[in-house]
Symmetry: D2
């Protein structure tokens, strides 16, 4: 019932999934602990379809759920993984390079399972439900991304959320790790493998100093770059300044950068205001959800033309005569030009997703149709399980210390 | 009316205050903008008495306030600064090495001005008021520290707060900077100048990975140490782990450390459970508010004896035959062994204090007697003013970007 | 006359070469300046055959040389690049996965051009010449690697060098950059893209703290790892210690490591003494010239068996029941699992090679048949050209400063 | 027979010396091993007189030498240490703030012992001997600094060296550690304790990227600064560039810097060409041997005036109306504003000095009167002893590995 590029690719995909399993011990542990929890439950998923997400889908299926899944980005689906997943009982509607129209159709297919639970990454499933309006039997929605939560909060302000949302992205055990260390490493992995250029000695401009931006800046520095940060929030800008980064408005940074990476969740971070300022040979890429941070539509009309000079590298010839290089068509560089976040990091995020789906299944009916933070005990539990899996022991408050913290005398 | 060590020390103190003024441009700017705001207002202050706090007191006096001030730690008062401050109109009750009994008397003197506003650092003034009970005309209290807020929250739980509290410590423009970059730098400054030992090549154990602990760990690594972190919170422990630090329980860390720095706001972090495990020659110090993190009372009774081997360095001879070295009697190493946080950092914290006192003066009557967060606009304003003073320009959202962030479509 | 995997792959290879050209401006500049220098000169090359080396070969051809080239490692040859190079006039004898016997034949084909100059990477061409003995018309040899120079110095001790050697590897403009920043980045690029695992939070063991090892350790730390260094030289070990790394003998490090990277130029760094100590799931790889640093022969006989679990990842099942993972069959991880050093770094190394070949051509006849350092003026010239190409201006000594440095009074 | 500020200060000085002893275990070990080696030998020393150098002098006295010592910088002598040292048998001619004329007299007093060995730091003793000309019974000279070696090499070129020189400064176990980690830490210690200003968020200009400059830049970055490097050597400049520092000529850097630290061994690094470009409030200091790197003579005549605003901080009012601040009168900031290098680092340097003096005593007669490198085995021995003292074990080459390294086959 799945729609795939080629179901024969499954062996390569299966190897990828088997590789990540032992690196996701918390999720594997929960897969045992929660046995039967999702029996008969329909789960609609929209998420980058690669090995780690496939393993999450498999775990859900193994716990009794009926899962239908589509990709959340046209270039991040790995066809071999999709094929492998489709053999395990999930319905998969996704392929690399899917067209907008086909993507719409696939979303419809996924929602056709009449889900009890929705796992969203970028909010496409929920926005589709909201557009349709009417009642839904969805008990809870979990959202993986900063961008998705922005959209869902906008829906909430208009009273259009079809069900309560658990803000997985904002949980500490997610954003502190996945957004920072995950995006930080996997984006530079993607940039390096795609370009084979040095990072050291380069001026790297990181747009946005949220958790993703921090990770990007930290790793860029760790790889030897001279890092410039752009921000709109004065507190974050001040942090970047005291961290020793140069803080500049994009107009000034545009002149200096050798590599630009955007991570704002916003639009038009590098756009027609800046294209004419860019240096010959500079690299543009994006680690945010949509291909509007480096404004691809504007770049395409601004430039005299473009051509593919390497896999995932497009050279744009600008009216200035200069050439700039865009990675992965301005889409998530870590997923399009790489394999996404490392498995050990996603173990945190997807264990949290699983626990939030279980929480939503149990408690969703009693929650208002708005955006809710992940309960603190769920958040801390994921971290505690991960420490245990990593063999790390930490201190425990003594009675005396607990009393001390509770007293004022 | 002040009580000082020696009023003749004022010239040296004056030079110290004049040194910090031009490095605190935000506070200086507010000193103009808020002219007259505190006319006739009594402000009771308890805070480490050195150049930056003295300048804050001077600003308040200049804005019309009647200020009475005492120190918040027996070893952090600088007598020359106290003498200089006393000549500017503030009543000063503080000297270096003050006894617990004298400190109590000084607190009483400060409260004798019948304050409209209380600025606390460690909550001593407020706890004294709470113990006295009865009505007070205090409109608002601001608290500078993690430890003080713990005590105030304990008071709030028992309904004993004499007035609403503004949690200055928890504001972003305070804790992200003062606790992290301020404690980070000034503690290592204090440790290095007091010991003249290498940090590079040493194993440094940082207890607590809150904002202070992060700053301490970051700078220790920046100075070339191999850093071990201890924590009780699984999320913070996980962050330390993914930051590349070794995370261990103190029992394991105690065996490895060459230098220990505590920053937990808790008690008995290094205590009799650990003293026997320490290496010959190791250094113990504390960056938290009280001298119980490295449990000095227990160490004194555990050891066979101690002697002063350098200014601010006590050698303890342990029953194991080993010798360990405690800096600054286990009190705040950055203030006792150094000059506290750099002026540029305190410009943020004390500008925030000033704006919070002004806010409390105006709005305190309408606030519940509990602990309130600093209003977000006050918090962001301090950062924005600091950026402006530093000549840093940042991006501003375009209309298009604001619309994008507000939409879901 | 070339021997290739498939000459039809040339288009992809051509794109790769075109990508690196503008990133190698010093080499491109010398390609103009030295016009005609190599007219009628035969150059035999043995080097990892990928885009940057291909460009060097093209430059030589463009300068009039007759070039014959083979690969220096069976897994580092990129067949598409080989095909592209073969169309430009060079004779190419190389393909990916070449057998030892075929490699020997290819070396013979390359030497059949009766070279005036030999460019070696690992010393295979020179060792072959030395084995043959007899006279040769080779005027000079340049050697690119630490390992190659060890072999050539051993030959020199036995009086068997067929011609004077210029120790390109040891030049500052080579080893400080290529070995450190090149190996540092490209190895981690290779490890990350091949495994998709985190580096942050892992314990990384770097064997050898020469320039390669330093680069590996620096980048591992920059990526968030906790780094352990092993060494045999006390001065280098002490440097690693004061840089904040843990320094351990391999026997102790073997128990702790999550990822091992060897870079010693020696043999049996991780071998049967250590295999039984390794942790479940650990990763073994090598950044040195031969597949004996992680002793592959011994591992293969020690293990119960192995299987390919991902491209370039072999899982070995050990008698302990544990599984360990070897990347790129224990050969140069940056070249087998990645694309080798970034072009900007190789611009330094290959410009130096070109200048050394020119120097050897002109001066080789007058040099003893031993290993010579690269002349200092050649070394500094490469750096100066690179700074100019990067648009970096530096200070120049004033007359007064020159006089000061020359005086003692 | 000593000339001191005040012999009664000895107790404080004694405590300082006792503090460093157990932190210099290699020197302490050699003090036993070499018993009697220097019996009846006269040693003339000119070196910064503080606890570590005093301990070296004590060790020499304990080994039988007759020691006469003076300071190598007018502001680095610690009078209490001088007093303590004078009680142990050495003749001490040094006090803080000594005038040039008195310094000359003290040098004469030191040389009056008719030395067998000279330990120089900056070459003052040797230059005096060279000026005098004539025969001397000096068997060997050791020199501690980059600057001193420059002067001695100039003397050597003119054939004026009175005895063979051992270039202690250039030994690996000295310059890699003392110059890099010692200067790096102690200079920032001095700057921080003297100014109480932030390093994080500041633009720090480091002039010179030799071992001292590298240490300064590394620690500045570790403390959160944005670091700019100036250089005259293209290879070092390129290293700084690939390390992620901005590389600029001083003319450009002068406009950007908040803190300048010079470490070149040259003169006029910041001089009248730059003073007019400096920012309001910037800090100037020097980590090189003489007060000409920041050209103090020129600054004094350029400025409208200066005044002491804090201990060791002079405010210069410039014709531009701006004020700049010079630390420690432009002399070695780590020694004048701090206590010099940490004891653990000086354990390496002074153990090397001791071994070189012993080597010179034994072999000096057979050496040419020129500048000699420290013998490699002496150099490595110091590092090996230090590792042993630190409890660090490293790998030892196996027979098989030795054979591998020696072979070419």
């Amino acid at each position: 019932m799945s729609r795939l590029k080629d179901e024969n690719l499954h062996e390569s995909g299966r190897r990828k999934i088997e590789w990540v399993k032992p690196r996701m011990p918390v999720l594997s542990g929960l897969a045992k602990e929660l046995a039967g929890t999702f029996r008969g439950v329909s789960v609609a998923m929209s998420i980058h379809l690669e090995a780690k997400t496939a393993y999450l889908a498999e775990v859900l299926t193994g716990l009794g759920a009926k899962v239908a899944i589509t990709g959340s980005n046209p270039l991040s689906t790995q066809d071999d993984v999709a094929a492998a997943l489709a053999r395990t009982g999930a319905e998969v509607f996704a392929w690399h390079g899917i067209s907008p129209k086909d993507q719409e159709a696939c979303i419809a297919e996924v929602l056709a399972i009449n889900p009890d639970l929705v796992l969203d990454d970028g909010a496409d499933l929920t926005v589709t439900l909201a557009r349709r309006g009417g009642a839904s039997r969805v008990r809870a929605i979990t959202e993986e991304t900063t961008t998705g939560l922005q959209r869902l909060r906008a829906l909430a302000r208009e009273g259009k959320l079809p069900a309560p949302v658990l803000a997985v992205n904002d949980a500490q055990s997610k954003s502190l790790f996945d957004n920072r260390y995950g995006t930080g490493q996997s984006s530079w992995d993607g940039i390096m493998r795609t370009t084979n250029l040095t990072v050291c000695g380069k001026t790297v401009v990181v747009a946005g100093f949220g958790w993703c931006g921090r990770g990007l800046a930290l790793r860029a520095r760790g790889l030897g770059a001279n890092v410039v940060v752009t921000e709109v929030d004065p507190i974050k800008a001040m942090e970047a300044h005291f961290d020793g980064f140069q803080v500049l408005p994009m107009e000034k940074a545009a002149v200096l950068g050798d590599i630009f990476v955007t991570a704002t969740g916003n639009t038009n971070i590098v756009d027609t205001r800046h294209f004419g300022l860019l240096k010959e040979g500079c690299i543009l890429c994006n680690a945010g959800h949509f291909d509007v941070e480096v404004q691809m539509r504007e770049l395409t009309s601004y430039a005299k033309g473009f051509r593919e000079v390497r896999p995932n590298v497009r050279e744009y010839e600008l009216p200035t005569g200069r050439r700039v290089y865009v990675l992965g068509e301005g889409r998530l560089v870590n997923l399009v030009c790489g394999d996404g976040h490392p498995a050990e990091i996603m173990d945190l995020s997807f264990s949290l997703q699983l626990l939030c789906l279980a929480y939503g299944l149990k408690n969703g009916a009693g929650l208002a149709k708005t955006v809710h933070p992940v309960p603190g005990e769920v958040d801390r539990r994921v971290a505690a399980l991960k420490l245990a899996a990593a063999g790390i022991t930490i201190d425990v408050l003594t009675k005396e210390q607990e009393a001390y913290l509770a007293s004022w005398d």
